[in-house]
C-alpha cells in the first residue's frame, strides 16, 4: 500500500511514447482502474494518448482518473499507465489554454 519514496509522476513525451510502444495490450491496467466508468479498450487509449485526436470517452476517462496508481502494479511489463494518463491530462490542459488564449 505504501512506498517510502514515491517517484515523480510525470514522464516526458519520448518516455511516454517508449512505454506505449512497450505495452503488450493485456488490459490489466484498465481492469484494475477504479476511475474507468466506460468500456474503453487499451488500443484506443494507447492510440489517443499520442495521436492528434482525443475522443470524448478517453477525455472523460482522463478527467476521472485520480492518479491512485492502481494501474501500475498489475502491469506485467512494468509500465506506468499513471504517467501516460498524466501525459494525456497535460495535453488536454494545454489544448484548453490554447483555445482559451485564441
Amino acid at each position: 500500500m505504501l512506498k517510502p519514496t514515491p517517484v515523480l509522476l510525470h514522464k516526458t513525451g519520448p518516455q511516454v511514447a517508449q512505454e506505449l510502444y512497450a505495452c503488450i495490450g493485456c488490459n490489466e491496467c484498465l481492469l484494475a482502474c477504479p476511475a474507468l466508468a466506460e468500456p474503453i479498450t487499451i488500443d484506443v487509449l494507447n492510440r489517443e494518448t499520442v495521436s492528434s485526436t482525443i475522443s470524448a470517452p478517453v477525455a472523460r476517462f482522463a478527467y476521472a482518473c485520480y492518479q491512485c496508481g492502481a494501474c501500475v502494479a498489475p502491469c506485467p511489463v512494468g509500465l506506468h499507465r499513471d504517467a501516460m494518463m498524466m501525459w494525456l491530462k497535460v495535453r488536454l490542459l494545454r489544448t484548453g489554454s490554447e483555445s482559451g488564449s485564441a
Binding site: 514515491p6 466508468a37 484548453g96
Partner: protein
C-alpha cells in the same frame, strides 16, 4: 497537436454512469423510506430509543450496509473473476452509496441519544469515516488537476524535460561567456593606444614581438588625474569583469549574462516538481487516513456491541 474533440482539463467535471444512477436511486429510496418511518414512528411510539425494535432494525441494516461498503469494494479490487473494465468503478460507486445509507440509518438508530457512551463514540467514528471519504473524493478531483498544472511547467511544449532544456541553455551561456572571457584576457586590444613594453620583455608569458612599434609616446607628463575612459565606462560590457564591490556587476551571475534568468526558471521548475511530489503524497496518504479511520470505527463498533450485549443479555434472560 490536438485538432478537435474535447478541450481543456475542467475542474468541474461530472459523469453519471449507470451504476452511479442506480446507486443514487437506491440510496434515495432507502433513506427516504427510513426517514418517513422515523418521522412517523418517533412521536407516536413510547419506545423511540436505540434499543427498541425500530432502533435494532436501523442498527442491523445500517451496520450491514457499512460492512457491505467495506467488503464489496475490497473484494472486487482483489477478485480475479469476471473482470470487465468499468466494474471496479461501479463497485466504488456502491461503496460510496452504501456508506451514505449506513450512516443515515445509524443516525436514525441513535434516535437523538448522543450521550457520551460507546454507541456515540462509534457513531462519531462512522461520521468521521464518511466525511473522510467525501474529503478524499474532493482531493481525488483536486490533486490530479494541481499535478497536471505542475507537470505543465516541468515539460516543454514538445513534451521534453524542461530541466534538461534549461541545463543546456546554461551550459551554452557558460561556454559562450568563458570564450568571451578568454578572448578578453588573452587577446591584445587592437584599439589600444597605450601599448607599452620594453624590447625583449614578455607580456603574459607571450614572447614580445619586436616588430611592433609603440603607437603612443609615453611620458609621465601625460598622466592625468582625470578619470580614464576605462573608469568612465566601467559599466560597459568589456569591463564587466572588474566591477566595484558595490556594483551590481560584482554579483557572480553578472559574469554570465542570461544565466540568472535561466537559474530562476530552473528554480521554478524544481519548485513545481516538489509540489507535484507533495500532491502525490496527499493522494497516497489520504487513503492511509481513510483506512485507519475504518479500523478505528470497527474497533469502536465492536466495543459498542460488547457493551450493549452486556446490558441486553441479562434483560433477555430475565
Amino acid at each position: 497537436m490536438h485538432k478537435n474533440g474535447p478541450k481543456g482539463y475542467p475542474w468541474l467535471f461530472f459523469y453519471a454512469g449507470r451504476s452511479w444512477v442506480a446507486g443514487l436511486i437506491v440510496t434515495l429510496i432507502v433513506i427516504v423510506s427510513a426517514g418517513v418511518f422515523y418521522v412517523w414512528y418517533s412521536p407516536f411510539s413510547n419506545d423511540a430509543s436505540p434499543d427498541s425494535l425500530a432502533g435494532y432494525t436501523y442498527a442491523i441494516v445500517g451496520t450491514l450496509c457499512l460492512i457491505l461498503a467495506a467488503i464489496l469494494y475490497s473484494w472486487r479490487r482483489r477478485s480475479r473473476n469476471k473482470r470487465i473494465p468499468g466494474r471496479l468503478n461501479a463497485a466504488l460507486n456502491w461503496h460510496i452509496f452504501l456508506a451514505i445509507i449506513g450512516l443515515a440509518l445509524l443516525l436514525m438508530h441513535s434516535f437523538g441519544n448522543l450521550n457520551p457512551r460507546t454507541g456515540t463514540y462509534a457513531l462519531y467514528g462512522m461520521i468521521a469515516l464518511t466525511v473522510s471519504g467525501f474529503v478524499g473524493r474532493m482531493l481525488d478531483r483536486l490533486m490530479p488537476r494541481l499535478i497536471a498544472n505542475e507537470v505543465d511547467k516541468a515539460l516543454t511544449m514538445q513534451g521534453k524535460d524542461r530541466i534538461e532544456d534549461i541545463s543546456q541553455e546554461i551550459q551554452a551561456i557558460v561556454i559562450h561567456s568563458t570564450e568571451k572571457l578568454q578572448g578578453f584576457s588573452a587577446a591584445p586590444s587592437r584599439t589600444s593606444t597605450s601599448f607599452v613594453s620594453l624590447p625583449g620583455s614578455t607580456s603574459n608569458g607571450i614572447p614580445f614581438d619586436s616588430s611592433r612599434s609603440l603607437h603612443t609616446p609615453w611620458d609621465l607628463a601625460y598622466i592625468s588625474l582625470e578619470e580614464t575612459p576605462q573608469e568612465l565606462n566601467r559599466e560597459a560590457a568589456q569591463y564587466r569583469f572588474i566591477p566595484d564591490k558595490k556594483s551590481a556587476l560584482a554579483r557572480p551571475e553578472a559574469l554570465m549574462p542570461g544565466a540568472e534568468e535561466q537559474m530562476s526558471e530552473l528554480k521554478k521548475v524544481q519548485r513545481a516538481m516538489q509540489r507535484e511530489k507533495f500532491y502525490r503524497y496527499i493522494i497516497r496518504y489520504w487513503r492511509v487516513v481513510h483506512i485507519s479511520l475504518a479500523l478505528l470505527t470497527v474497533a469502536l463498533t465492536i466495543w459498542h456491541l460488547v457493551y450493549a450485549a452486556q446490558l441486553l443479555i441479562p434483560t433477555f434472560i430475565h
